[in-house]
Amino acid sequence: MGIAEFFQHLMNGLTLGGIYALIALGYTMVYGILKFINFAHGDVLMVGAYIGLFLFDWLRGDSPLGLWTLVAFFLAMIISMGFSAAIGMFIERVAYKPLRKATRLAPLLSAIGVSFILSNGAAWAFGTHSRKFNYPFDNSAIHLGEVVITPHQILILVVSLVMMIILKIFVDKTRMGKAMRATSLDQGTAMLMGISVNRVISMTFAIGSALAAVGGILIALDFKVYATMGTMMGLKAFVAAVVGGIGNISGAMFGGILLGILETFGVAVFGIPTGLKDTIAFGVLILILLLKPEGLFGKVEKEKV
């Protein structure tokens, strides 16, 4: 493998990983606070992608590629983020909140139900065929020496990086972020300190879902939008979250990027057939669970009696 080829795969891996990271953040934040896997997260991503697609097509109208299409794309993305955040909060309110004191199994089962309702509802409402996202700008490849980069990849990298930085600042510096960290450490004590835990949980779902919507739109640029697109994406993003140490925000970012790179190199270098590309994430999950179940950056949690 030449150096150029190496950078090519690295670039492809980074873009894919950036998307995984965005989605993984939603899993990890919810897990950090509620200690449960939100199975519907992948389907929120799908809904976000659909909203983005429809909005963008509507905003763009017949205008040729240019500044307006780019603006329209970002507008569509921001509005879709808002909608998805509302959907995420709504789901939490209706399907998870009543189960907060129930057995461990109850919210998981409820989440699977929500996931099924969303994906099949979308198939019913939007049809089972897949749709193509219209390009917001000219996507002809840029050659940097032997490395080929598409403008989409640049967009994906920039957007996911910006989103992650904003999130990091939000969680580390703002009052709400502090409340979130406190809640994830100890809900009871956080409540005693005057933190409205319900609001924090709502906010967590809103942020996670908004990031998922961004992830969904970014994938849709290069792949297609269809009702079950969230299942595999969600699964991989979850693996990314586990790799980074579930509950750990920076870990999820790192895990996503690592998984993206592993997948690209697995196919390109180790000759894993493309049809079995999806098995790589699964293999990574089993490996990490066997070797380092708390993830690369996770803390070993002692269970208290």
Binding site: V94, L99, L109, I112, S115, L118, F282, L289, E303
Partner: protein, 306 residues
């Protein structure tokens, strides 16, 4: 029409087997497994490949299907069950997708998306169990359901069942009572997997062909729905749940409304069942079954000291 009803009954039986398996994992062990479809597929393909390619009889493929699914159950169960139960859900969800992926892509063995056709009908002492004449097949399926029910019922009341319930209620307490929690969890998971493999075997000789499209995630969710609707920790309820879910699933065809009702109707309904049951009736329609032992203890406590 009546014939159609028989078909629903046969499918109820096949799914009831899977639901029994899911119940021992989820209802007794308190573990969420999302891959009955994966083991179902493994069982089906084991029977399909062994009968068509190697000329085995259906009866010889049954134990093979069982053992193969059990083996895969062990393979996923061991790494994930050592940890908190949540990981099992994701690992099994992934496993189900991987199985379908492999079936779709491993052309030389599974013939990819085309699937395997012309699976021979099973026969017993010269009598062919023809799936088109549904009675004999129905009887066969329900004999299997009966056997599985009996075995599971006995197991649930044995040391294993009690140990599993203990693990479900409180892992740490169970552990400190000397119960090896991983062993019991893995054992429950393997049992559930193998009975799903058996169901797969039956499915293969019922439809006489297998294609990867049959074994989607929806199958796993349907099975989960059966258990949740009937009642977790109650084997009778799983069989009832299987019947109700199959009725719902064939409701459009049964009433001749399939042109009016969208095909996603039943899936959306399954999702709703899960959410609604969890919020309003988490114990299911029939509720958890008290073992005779548990009742006796309760009675002797009420009777007071002698």
């Amino acid at each position: 029409m009546f014939n159609f009803f028989l078909l629903i009954l046969i499918y109820s039986g096949i799914y009831a087997l899977m639901a029994l398996g899911q119940n021992i994992i989820t209802g007794y062990g308190g573990l969420l497994s999302l891959t009955q479809a994966g083991f179902f597929a493994i069982g089906s393909y084991a029977t399909a490949i062994l009968t068509t390619r190697f000329g085995w009889s259906f009866w010889a493929t049954l134990p093979a299907a069982l053992i193969l699914s059990a083996f895969f159950g062990l393979l996923i169960g061991l790494p994930t069950l050592r940890l908190k139960g949540d990981y099992l859900a994701i690992a099994t969800l992934g496993f189900g997708e991987i199985v379908r992926n492999v079936l779709n892509n491993w052309d030389s063995v599974t013939r990819g998306p085309m699937g395997i056709q012309r699976i021979p009908m099973p026969d017993l002492f010269g009598f062919t169990i023809n799936p088109y004449k549904k009675y004999a097949f129905l009887v066969m399926v329900f004999i299997f359901v009966g056997i599985a029910y009996f075995i599971f019922q006995r197991l649930a009341r044995s040391r294993m069942g009690r140990a599993l319930s203990a693990v479900r209620e409180d892992e740490i307490a169970a552990q400190s009572m000397g119960i090896n929690i991983t062993t019991y969890k893995v054992f429950a998971f393997i049992l559930g997997a193998s009975v799903a493999g058996l169901a797969g075997s039956l499915q293969a000789v019922f439809s006489l062909s297998v294609t990867p499209g049959t074994y989607t995630f929806m199958v796993s969710v349907m099975v989960l729905c059966m258990v949740v609707l009937g009642g977790m920790g109650n084997f009778k309820a799983s069989i009832l749940g299987a019947f109700i879910i199959q009725l719902i699933s064939y409701f459009p065809q049964l009433t001749g409304l399939s042109s009016v009702i969208p095909p996603q109707f039943k899936q959306i309904l399954f999702g709703l069942i899960l959410v609604v049951m969890m919020i309003w009736r988490p114990q299911g329609l029939l509720g958890r079954e008290e073992t005779r032992y548990g009742k006796k203890v309760a009675k002797s406590r009420k009777g007071g000291a002698q």
